[in-house]
Amino acid sequence: MNVVSRGIRNALRSPLRSGAIVIMLAISITLIVAMLVARSSVNAKIEEVKGSTANQITINPAGIRGGFGGGDPLTAEQVTTVTSTAHIGSVASTLTDQAGTDDTNLTPSLELGSFGQRMQRFETSTGDSNGPTDVIQGDGSSDSAPARPARTPRTTITGTTDANSIASDGSTLTLTSGATVDSTSSDLVALVGKTLAEKNSLSVGSTFTLYGKTFTVNGIYETGNTFQDSGIVVPLATLQTATEQPGAVTSAVATVDSSENVTATVSALKTALGDKADITSSAEQAETSVASLRSISSLATTGVVGATIAGAVIVLLTMTMIVRERRREIGVIKAIGGTTSKVITQFVTEALTLTLVSGVIGIALGIFVSGSITDGLVTSASAAPKTTQGQGPMASAGGMRGTGGPTQRFNQGLQQVTSTVTPQIFMGAAGITLLIAILGSALPAYLIARVRPAEVLRTE
């Protein structure tokens, strides 16, 4: 029988009251654990999203996004400016083009569809380069409109210095057969998407005509993305030469040496390129994408703090009530030689016992419900990422598409937050439980210290 066992025994002195307090505290702790799990799961997701985008900066010529828009591509000089900017390690440059029936003997593997038709609705004779003003011609009679050729789907040709840049997950491009092309060369070699290759019965070693030249198939790739798998990848220089656009680039992705330098490099590039290019860093895009996750995270943090305060208040009120009730007992212990610190230890032990029992129940319950609470939080807050998913000309059918920026990749996985209970959460929850007991015991301890032993001689 010592001060600790007396404290534990006192916790069971009034079973009904103790039971009620344990239930209330356990609910608070359940909430704390669930919020801690949600918070750490969401934070892990945020880190994952930010980490997966590395330190990339995307430079698009002003007005051009993938196959859309208008304006001039980046020039070789501008690309050199990017390459020579401080902190930039490597630059993957891409030039995209649409090859029509006049450009290639290949049959496109994408259906035109309503999207493709709409995209081509302004176009006239594909072979006529005279421009729109000459549309009405011939005998001059206004009612004899020229016969518009049938609209045809097209094949997207990507000239790139890094064939991996079209991989949908940002890693290495998967080749189902053959080998990759030397992206730095200007050889007439190509990687053909699986769907397009099947449509045209192409295999490694096959040849086809593009821009009047004969290309050899070096490899067949598969990304799992219908649009990409209907395209052709060639070395950048090859496409620049074939389309007579020397040095032209429609998109460049620069990798910065460290994430701390991304912001500075973005502004350096903006200064260097002026209004000729639109510069976005993947970090910024990731930041936008994870904004809703961040709000869940801060909501969860608020929840943890709130539930901790609630728990501490429960303990505080309970212990204050108990100390008031046992005022005479405290005086007696002091009168017969018990030190104030011993009495406080006894009462703190009592508070700890109640809190720990609640903690065990609460943590177990919290782990049990944390999965569904995390899901609930993420789903209810996921409206934001969903709406941004449609941004940009990234439709995947009909023949045109931007070079899918990293943004799309973030959004796909944003709702897949897996709630995991890590040892840190366990420790954190245990620590907070302890904190609740200590915070909740502080005022009662003060009240205990103030009980004068002489009070026991009072006969009220």
């Binding site: 029988m1 010592n2 007396r6 025994r9 006192n10 002195r13 005479r328 007992e329 007696v332 212990i333 002091k334 009168a335 017969i336 030689g337 018990g338 030190t339 104030t340 011993k342 004068r452 032993p453 002489a454 026991v456 001689l457 009072r458 006969t459």
Partner: protein
């Protein structure tokens, strides 16, 4: 000279001004003596006991117990003094309700510094000495009669072989027959244990049987006998 009080004054700051509960009280009690203090309600009897028992510090004056002036002890030393040198017996018994009779005595032994392994045996001896049956020793205070509770409280007061036992109206809550038995118990103990006892009482019969009696009136000793 076991206990000597000189010029003891205690003033309380009550809401309606200062109350002088004890006014320049001086007296002495020898080792092993049984002294009684009588006086009307509010005359300062409890205040005197609280000062003798170091439950409170006097406004003025000295209290020498075995040649130590306990009037000016630090709070920490006061606690140690109460644990080792003083045994209290209260009118309302003041046992810890959650602990058995045995554990109540063991609690005092713990505060007195006795080794944990020896406490139970010593507590049993004490409870047997005050007349509590073994099965009664295991009961909580609520399951004991007033007289039995007061016996436990006397065993607790004796636990650490104190220099002085201070009893504030120990028979005040008991019927006259039980009160007499409790008084006889205290009386016998003062003989066998050679413990100094100072008891506050209303009962003039009881007071008449003690070695000496002091009468308090408005915080002053007016009469003494013996």
């Amino acid at each position: 000279m076991s206990l000597e009080v000189k010029d003891l004054t205690k003033t309380y700051n009550a809401s309606h001004g200062k109350v002088t509960a004890l006014d320049s009280v001086s007296f002495s009690v020898s080792t092993g003596e049984f002294a009684s203090i009588i006086g009307k309600s509010g005359s300062g009897k409890s205040t005197l006991l609280s000062l003798l028992g170091a439950l409170d510090t006097p406004t003025k004056g000295e209290i020498h117990v075995d040649d130590i002036n306990i009037a000016r002890l630090s709070p920490h030393k006061q606690t140690a003094y109460r644990a080792k040198k003083i045994g209290f017996v209260f009118q309302q018994y003041n046992l810890i309700p959650n602990l058995s009779a045995l554990e109540n005595v063991m609690l005092a032994l713990e505060f007195g510094g006795m080794r944990a392994s020896e406490r139970k045996e010593r507590a049993r001896e004490l409870l047997t000495a005050v007349g509590l049956e073994p099965d009664q020793q295991l009961r909580k205070p609520a399951k004991l009669s007033g007289g039995q509770q007061q016996r436990v409280s006397i065993a607790r007061a004796l636990a650490n072989k104190p220099a002085v036992i201070l009893a504030d109206e120990p028979t005040g809550n008991l019927d006259s027959e039980t009160g007499k038995k409790i008084f006889d118990l205290l009386h016998d103990l003062s003989r066998t244990e050679k413990t100094t006892i100072i008891a506050v009482t209303h009962d003039l019969d009881i007071a008449g049987k003690t070695d000496r009696t002091y009468m308090l009136k408005d915080g002053k000793i007016t009469t003494k006998r013996g």
